[in-house]
């Protein structure tokens, strides 16, 4: 190992891995919650649904589309003033979180909306015919019935987030991306870049494996 990767400092490598995992985990959780709320609102305010409301839907839709379209690397830069405002710093793992969450929540919200649209309208009508409240419909019909789509969506989003953390790393957020760039690229130590890449690949495979497993378990169709 030491011969293949002569320049890799393992304690530094594991520390960076921890940072990447930390950034990914926090932003995945926040994206799941925020994206689900946004997606639900997008769905519920759309035409023919419980809270049909065109102005709200148009505004939400525009917001989602704008933040989904901005390239992530540019979004980080654009969000510097905002990040400084709430965190007082631009350096470190935490500083990457606002950009990560704002960048991926709208992306996930669209997936949530698509998942919710796949639910048979008849099932929602049946719940209404039983006298269900809107909150009951959300918690007991919409979310459980779309859960496989929500999980496979968050799997895709989580993988995108891992690569976003690497990008955030380049501008000072730490993690494997930062290590690969600073130690590997800048100092021409290709073995460091390669090792960081391998670890990122392993993280992605594990996420995909868990996501697929959970989706299969949940899907009773």
């Amino acid at each position: 190992m030491a011969e293949l990767f002569p320049n890799v400092k393992w304690d530094r490598m594991w520390e960076a891995t921890g940072e990447t995992l930390y950034m990914s985990a926090i932003s995945v959780v926040a994206t799941f919650i925020l994206g689900a709320i946004l997606g639900l609102l997008l769905f519920l305010t759309s035409k023919g649904n419980i809270w049909e409301n065109k102005p709200v839907n148009v505004v939400l839709s525009a917001f989602v589309n704008i933040f989904r379209s901005i390239p992530f690397i540019i979004l980080i830069v654009l969000l510097i003033p905002f990040t400084k405002l709430i965190l007082n710093t631009m350096i470190g793992e935490n500083a990457a979180l606002p950009a990560l969450i704002i960048g991926s929540a709208p992306f996930y919200a669209r997936m949530v909306e698509i998942g919710l649209r796949e639910i048979d309208k008849g099932v929602i009508e049946a719940a209404k015919s039983m006298g269900a409240k809107t909150t009951t419909i959300i918690w007991k019909v919409l979310l459980p019935e779309s859960m496989p789509a929500l999980v496979s969506g968050i799997t895709v989003t989580a993988i995108a987030l891992v690569s976003y953390t690497a990008m955030a790393g380049v501008i000072g957020a730490g993690g494997l991306g930062n290590l690969a760039y600073m130690e590997g690229f800048q100092r021409s130590r290709n073995d460091v870049t390669l090792m960081a890449t391998i670890i990122i690949l392993v993280i992605v495979f594990v996420i995909q494996f868990i996501g697929d497993l959970v989706t299969r378990k949940l899907d009773k169709r």
Partner: protein, 341 residues
């Protein structure tokens, strides 16, 4: 139990107004199985959804079990819906829940305690004949079993009215009959008022006490099922009655017969109740010097009595034929000459 008074539902579309339900008056008595028949687009779907407030009439009133569902809103409407349950053509079960959990869903909505729910679900599973399938998921069930879950779910909160939205239209004929038998059984055992919409006269014939025929948003004919079978007034009603009384081949058989026997007449006889029990054909042959050839016959059972049709071919002297047809007419049997040979 149900009173619909001058209900109208008008949608405005780009092409102008669409009158889905147009000035409908209807009365359904307690404990009755009432059928609404019509082709798709006749407005029956909108009509039945007015009964549980899923559609609000543009004007007019709908009163179900003492509540004006066309006017109440919010919590009151939700409470009313627990007493007016619905079963659907495509069952509309939650695939993420097991059979038992699906049946428990309306009980959760009604705020029934967990222990109480489990007890009730067990009773319902037995009632609809799904013992041992409680832990299965809907995807593992056949269409008929899914509809049984739908029925159990609809009965969970002891409703006063059960609405059936094309409840058997997605099922094969044999399963349809099983589900219809179950509905009749529930109607008798629980005294439940049932309103169902369908496009199959078979469903009306088999389980309904009274029927309304809908066309273009209006109810064009209504009455006890046997009456409507015996004496359909509107052309659309006649067509629906034919669905049951005349197998599709009848017309072909009659045409074939007419071409083979250019003489004589093909006559359709209609028997209702006791009329069916007289030895009419024997008497006919004995009394008149004519040939009688039976083409096709069918007896259908309805909830208020039996109803039969018989196609016969008569041949002989012109005067004898006329007297024979007059003779049939005297015996409380409907007679219609299809075609002169």
């Amino acid at each position: 139990m149900i009173t619909i008074n001058k209900a109208k539902k008008i949608y405005s579309s780009k092409k102008g107004e669409v009158r889905a339900v147009d000035d409908v008056n209807l009365e359904v008595k307690e404990g009755e199985i009432f059928g609404v028949i019509g082709y798709s687009g006749a407005g029956k779907s909108t009509l039945i959804r007015m009964l549980n407030g899923l559609e609000i009439p543009t004007s007019g009133s709908v009163v179900v079990a003492g509540r004006e569902v066309s006017r109440i809103k919010g919590a009151e409407l939700r409470k009313a819906r627990q007493e007016i349950s619905m079963i659907f053509q495509h069952f509309n079960l939650l695939w993420s829940r097991t059979v038992a959990e699906n049946i428990a869903f309306p009980l959760e909505i009604a705020g029934v305690s967990k222990a109480e729910r489990e007890k009730r679900v067990k009773e319902l599973i037995t009632l609809v004949g799904l013992e041992g399938r409680g832990d299965a998921y809907p995807s593992q069930l056949s269409g008929g079993q899914k509809q049984r879950v739908g029925i159990a779910r609809a009965l969970a909160n002891n409703p006063k009215v059960l609405l059936g939205d094309e409840a058997t239209s997605a099922l094969d004929p044999q399963t349809t009959d099983q589900i219809l038998d179950l509905l009749v059984d529930i109607n008798k055992r629980l005294g439940l008022t049932i309103v169902l919409i369908t496009h199959e006269m078979h469903v009306i014939r088999k389980i309904c006490h009274r029927v309304a025929v809908m066309e273009g948003g209006k109810i064009v004919e209504t009455g006890p099922v046997l009456e409507v079978f015996k004496n359909p007034q509107q052309p659309i009603t006649k067509r629906f009655v034919q669905q049951v009384t005349e197998p599709e081949e009848t017309k072909e058989t009659v045409d074939h017969l007419l071409s083979r026997y250019p003489h004589g007449r093909v006559v359709q006889l209609t028997f209702v109740g006791e009329g069916a029990e007289q030895p009419l054909i024997s008497n006919l042959i004995r009394e008149f010097p004519i040939m009688v050839n039976i083409v096709q016959g069918k007896i259908s059972q309805t909830q208020n009595g039996s109803y039969g049709t018989l196609f016969i071919h008569l041949d002989g002297e012109e005067s004898d034929l006329n007297r024979a047809i007059a003779f049939i007419g005297q015996h409380e049997v409907g007679v219609e000459v299809i075609s002169n040979g």
